[in-house]
Subunit: 190 residues, 2 copies
């Protein structure tokens, strides 16, 4: 199945290039070159760079380990903490050079491509709902106050995380992660 494998290579190259260089700065030829595919073959697999980006967003989302948020073998608040520790460690390993691909796409193209805006919206919604469910479990378990709605807390924490990734790239330091963990687990989810 040479065709299926070529398509797969193109998707993997797209995730890598969009994540490291951004959407506008990545051309179809950059992607096919990185995938070791002839440029002409691209349109056998994808209608456009935009259509490929929607698939790349899904692929990236699947690597976010949202399953950690629903792992019943771990106490709810610890699940939330370990999930963000996983995301933090991945970022540290990349030397602060990569943010969240979903957030990056939102900034770069959500205003200009309805298909990509919808893809970003779906990714964030799925993540926010998984986070809200874990926070609700933590509230039911008495680990987190019920004074605020779990959905509101989840939306806020997710947004704080996205902003934290912006700061780590700018500062090239892990300090924004420290602020995030200190305030989220010391103040917000109490």
């Amino acid at each position: 199945m040479a065709r299926a494998s070529l398509r797969e290579n193109i998707i993997e190259a797209a995730v890598d290039r969009f994540h490291s260089h951004g959407y506008a700065a990545t051309g179809v030829k950059d992607i096919t070159d990185a995938a070791g595919a002839p440029k002409g073959s691209f349109y056998n697999h994808f209608e456009s760079k935009e259509a490929l980006a929607v698939v790349a967003l899904e692929r990236y989302g699947a690597s976010r380990r949202l399953d950690m948020l629903t792992d019943d073998s771990v106490a709810p608040l610890a699940r939330v903490r370990r999930h963000f520790e996983f995301l933090r460690d991945e970022n540290l390993e990349a030397g602060f050079a990569r943010g969240c691909m979903v957030g990056d796409m939102a900034v770069e193209v959500a205003d200009h491509s309805e298909a990509l805006r919808a893809g970003v919206f779906e990714s964030f919604t799925y993540w926010r709902e998984a986070l809200a469910a874990a926070i609700l479990d933590a509230q039911e378990a008495g680990e987190v106050s019920k004074a605020q709605d779990a959905a509101t807390l989840a939306a806020f924490v997710l947004n704080a995380w996205e902003g934290t990734l912006i700061a780590t790239r700018t500062d090239r330091s892990a300090k924004p992660f420290e602020s995030f963990f200190t305030i989220v687990f010391g103040v917000v989810l109490r």
Copy 2:
């Protein structure tokens, strides 16, 4: 002083285009066209698009009304709230179509241009310090608990704000602002 005015037109056009379309998607010709300037005149005023973007960042920063954070005629916590209300209202007026230009630049180019990364870093640092000073005043006035460091709270709130702007663009809704104000002023700054 036709020259000074042309330079000024170019800066204003650059702030507008970078803010609405992003850095990579905006060419020098887009800017000179919007400024009503001949493309050839650009390099009389700026060495590069990158050099212009550094000036545009400063110009944008000056419009963020950081003076609201140091206005002693208003109680410290109310200053912080009004500052973010000002930024929120500006965003609502633009129909969610524009984020924070500093955050956008961070996402798009902080990894690829040291000059722009430094400009973004300076803008965020200046803002974070003004916010930390207002939060410290609020702590001294007994409006906010001293359990957490003002600098850590300020960094966290600023990052939460930047992430909130990502969410408003994606959702095309004011709901992320509601989560921000509910949790920041109901939980974080208490």
